[in-house]
């Protein structure tokens, strides 16, 4: 067991297992498929973006094949997301304090919160992705095999699919802004799994204590 005392470590120490390899595969599987699906989907939705279909014309079946193929990656990643993060994204009482000031993300505050692995904003975004992800997957499948369903079911699937696409397009930008651009240090935790101790103390103190107690922290200079 690798017991370390986080209070005695210098703040520039790195925690190297801020995310597990499975979490990183899940995250980037979702992110990559989502972006490709959004771009190819936009190519179908907007005739002015028809260039996307023309660029992908070299693929047999064109952009449609690309869209359908990455939909499988998306659905697998979505199931993994639910299994990997579902438990960590259950809301608790500490989250209420966070919600009162929206975590200090929109209007910056100096308030600290005793948060676990994910802050309530991340929890909301996870459920947002899972909720819209399930809806977009089901409607997508109906659109893929429309003759297996009633016409009315297929017809209602089209707007729901578009609504979910809007939710993902907007949600992804918000996620990228808060998770990467506006919060330096966060990206590494999901790319390499490395996060500075100071970043962990600030963003996920309860998780840090739990990991320390269980002797699961992996550190590096």
């Amino acid at each position: 067991m690798n017991r370390v005392n986080i209070d005695k470590l210098p703040p520039d120490t790195y925690i190297t297992n801020a995310s597990t390899p499975l979490e990183r595969i899940t995250h980037w599987g979702l992110a990559g498929s989502c972006i490709i699906l959004f771009i190819t989907g936009a190519g179908f939705m907007f005739r002015s973006l028809n260039i996307i279909q023309r660029i992908l014309a070299f693929v047999p079946g064109g952009a449609k094949t690309v869209h359908h193929t990455f939909a499988i990656v998306f659905i697998i990643s979505l199931v993994l997301a639910l299994l990997v993060w579902g438990k960590d994204c259950i809301f608790n009482l500490e989250d209420i304090k966070w919600f009162k000031v929206l975590g200090g993300y929109v209007i910056r505050t100096d308030q600290h919160f005793d948060l676990g692995k994910f802050n309530p904003g991340q929890k909301i975004f996870t459920w947002y992705c899972i909720g819209f992800g399930i809806a977009i997957s089901i409607t997508g499948y109906i659109m893929y095999t429309p003759f297996d369903f009633a016409r009315s079911t297929v017809q209602i699937s089209y707007p729901i699919h578009a609504l979910c696409a809007a939710a993902f397009g907007i949600g992804w930008l918000g996620h990228w802004y808060l998770g990467a651009w506006a919060n330096p240090g966060s990206v590494a935790s999901i790319t390499s799994g490395r996060a500075r101790l100071a970043w962990c103390k600030h963003h996920r103190p309860k998780w840090l204590r739990k990991m320390q107690k269980e002797g699961k922290l992996k550190i590096a200079k």
Binding site: P159, P184, H202
Partner: protein, 266 residues
């Protein structure tokens, strides 16, 4: 909603079909297959004279047999309806089609499909109020009547109108056809106003439903939500979100954790 025909109303060509004159000889079906070089389809007798049972990828037009009880010595009779693409002005297929050029409109108002551009998404198949476009699994493309636009462009009339022995299929200038049908005493000119005007109209003397036509055809409301509500949310929502992040970053900058330097977060 929808793409309007960009020609003057008088220039539009159309069909006026008189179902009461139709004898269901189905010469129109044969002429259509002949002109378009479509193979015959092997079907099974299911107890109806109607054959084939529905429009399909190699049948652009067919006569629908609407059977009804007559309560006389014959027992039954039929209302015949020539089924085909109705070339709507507010054409759902053109609204939902994601591939530019796959469905276009001719100067005469016909909606024609270009197989080279069709990506086989089946959107038109599933949303057409008249359930006309057919998906061909062999080619992964849709097929439907194109109102013999190639013949019309060369001064001929469509093959089905040419062959019809009873004069049930009239082809010509849309406005003249409507005037003629009105003077013939038809109780309803189906397609005069429906979906901003169809280019295949019916001079009916019975309620439309009895012919198997929707009484009040409309673009499905789901298409309205899809193309008029949620599509603009994507189109505007994404750039506006980017703008919002830029504005937020401009005023607040990055969220730097000062603990790393021994201070507090900002």
């Amino acid at each position: 909603m929808g793409e309007k025909v960009k020609v003057s109303y008088k220039e539009q060509k159309a069909f006026m079909i008189y179902p009461d004159r139709c004898t269901a000889c189905r010469a129109c079906q044969v002429a259509c297959k002949n002109w378009n070089q479509l193979p015959a389809q092997k079907t099974e007798n299911t107890g109806s004279f109607e054959n084939p049972p529905s429009l399909n990828p190699t049948t652009f037009t067919k006569i629908k047999f609407n059977e009804y009880d007559t309560n006389d010595k014959y027992g039954i009779s039929w209302l015949f309806l020539k089924q085909q693409c109705l070339h709507c002005t507010e054409a759902t297929c053109m609204i939902v089609c994601p591939s530019p050029g796959a469905l276009t409109r001719t100067a005469e108002g016909m909606v024609i499909n270009n197989l080279d551009k069709c990506i086989g998404c089946k959107f038109c198949v599933m949303t057409c109020p008249f359930e006309v476009p057919q998906f061909n699994p062999a080619t992964q493309k849709i097929s439907k009547c194109h109102l013999c636009h190639d013949r019309v462009a060369n001064g001929l009339i469509p093959a089905c109108a040419k062959i019809c022995p009873t004069g049930a299929i009239q082809f010509g200038e849309r406005e003249k056809l409507i005037a003629q049908a009105k003077s013939s005493g038809a109780s309803r000119i189906y397609g005069e106003k429906e979906l901003d005007g169809l280019h295949v109209m019916y001079a009916l003397n019975q309620p439309a439903e009895k012919y198997g036509l929707p009484a009040n055809p409309k673009v499905p409301s789901s298409v309205y939500w899809w193309k008029k509500i949620f599509k603009p949310i994507v189109g505007w929502g994404v750039p506006l979100t980017i703008l919002a992040t830029l504005i937020h970053f401009w005023f607040h900058g990055p969220h730097v954790i000062e603990e790393e330097k021994g201070g507090e977060s900002k």
